[in-house]
């Protein structure tokens, strides 16, 4: 079973599929596991919880998200530390889980504030302020204090960067396109299969120059009648076929 999110259980789809946004982070997921299992946060069975954490992030497809992996590694490290023989004199022993417990408690406290903010914010969303406001006269005494924060200045920098086409702002790594090479690849794929899709030709982690090369190759080959490009409906993946005519020829 998927743990209901603390906040929006009613939004949960009944299916096993859970969006990444369902948990706000590894601590959220960890707390949800602890609650599901009705565990005492001060005495977490770390081996079991580490195992469940790993299983869950793999189910949720979060096992490539750095934040979750870091937590998984942390849990495994604590698990290993728990297995170390304790030194003589128990009082010298520090529970390897202590730091995790502290963080969970802190996170927990913050979630309480989130609940409060969410409640109040939702109430406030039901009240509208005045929208029509008379045009204020633009006369401000020059000796009035200047209201200007660092945040405003930085926001202005951001606006400038976003709206400017400043050639010196971009670092261009020259990389020649390889259209001929891409044409060879496309021909090779179409020699084996009658049709292919875009991602058969371009790896999902392709560099921009590779993508451009394949694109130009396809356009060139289509122009020369070597292949046909079709998209059967909007946003469908593009189908690339050997051209029947050139094939017959």
């Amino acid at each position: 079973m998927i743990a209901p999110n603390f906040r929006s259980a009613e939004n949960l789809a009944p299916s096993f599929v859970v969006e990444l946004s369902h948990f706000t982070g590894p601590l959220d997921l960890l707390l949800s596991l602890i609650r599901d299992e009705q565990l005492d946060i001060y005495d977490i069975p770390i081996a079991r919880i580490a195992e469940q954490f790993l299983a869950r992030i793999s189910t949720l497809g979060l096992d490539e998200a750095a934040d979750y992996l870091e937590m998984a590694a942390r849990l495994l490290r604590i698990k290993a530390q728990m297995l170390l023989p304790r030194a003589e004199g128990e009082d010298a022993w520090e529970d390897p889980r202590a730091e995790l417990v502290r963080r969970l408690l802190e996170y927990q406290q913050m979630r309480e504030v989130v609940d409060l903010l969410e409640r109040r914010g939702e109430e406030r969303r039901h009240q509208f302020p005045r929208r029509w406001v008379p045009q204020a006269a633009d006369i401000t005494p020059i000796n009035a204090p200047l209201s200007l924060s660092l945040g405003e200045l930085l926001a202005a920098v951001d606006r400038v960067l976003r709206t400017t086409k400043e050639p010196t702002l971009h670092e261009v790594i020259p990389r020649a396109l390889d259209v001929n090479g891409a044409m060879v690849t496309v021909r090779a794929v179409l020699a084996m299969r009658r049709s292919a899709r875009w991602f058969d030709l371009v790896g999902r982690d392709a560099e921009p120059w590779q993508i451009l090369s394949v694109l130009l190759a396809l356009l060139e080959m289509a122009k020369q009648g070597e292949l046909r490009i079709a998209q059967h409906h909007a946003f469908a993946s593009v189908e690339i076929r050997r051209d029947a005519v050139s094939e017959a020829a």
């Binding site: 929006s8 982070g25 949800s32 009705q38 996170y107 913050m110 979630r111 406001v133």
Partner: protein, 184 residues
């Protein structure tokens, strides 16, 4: 209504954001702060007793007239005004941490939340809910963030002290397992 209450009403109707007490007092140099407070009470009572579509509230560091919640749906349905978008859970978490720990740097927020918060900070900043309030003295002198008056306004808070103190927050975590988590 008294002339001062009328003047305050006129001013509050002309402002999209809360007006601070001192600014309200500046409307009429003859009136004391006490007189302004009394006139605000008069206005609030008038709205409540007479049955108006709006009410007077104190929040966000000042006074503001808002429509009553019961009319929100009709107003939105008729597309007279739109409600602001809800914040994501990630944004709320980040905001909660900043509200309690301000001034606070990015690294410290990430330590508490356990995830990167760069883009969330940007969107909170764009919505005017947080601002950069300075730089830490620490290594690299990181930027420090704090909440704004708009934050108070959007969450109907009069001031930050209205949030429960850290020690007032229930840490109902010790003991029985099923009390370990936030109440639903």
């Amino acid at each position: 209504m008294t002339p001062l209450a009328k003047l305050l009403e006129a001013a509050l109707f002309a402002a999209p954001r809360p007006i601070a007490m001192v600014a309200l007092a500046a409307l009429d140099v003859e009136s004391s702060l006490a007189a302004v407070a009394a006139a605000l009470d008069e206005l609030r009572e008038h709205y409540d007793v007479d049955g108006h579509g709006v009410e007077l509230v104190e929040q966000g560091g000042g006074w503001q007239i808002l429509t009553r919640a019961e009319f929100a749906e009709a107003i939105e349905r008729a597309q007279v005004a739109v409600r602001p978008q809800r914040l994501s859970a990630a944004a709320l978490e980040t905001l909660a941490i900043i509200a309690y720990r301000q001034p606070i740097g990015r690294a410290e927020i990430e330590e508490i939340r356990g995830v990167a918060v760069g883009s969330v900070l940007k969107s909170l900043h764009e919505r005017g809910l947080i601002d950069i309030v300075g730089r830490s003295e620490g290594i690299g002198r990181p930027l420090l963030y704090g909440t704004t008056s708009q934050f108070l306004e959007q969450f109907a808070l009069r001031h930050l002290e209205e949030l429960p103190r850290a020690d007032e927050l229930a840490i109902a975590l010790r003991g029985a397992g099923n009390t370990a988590v936030v109440p639903e």
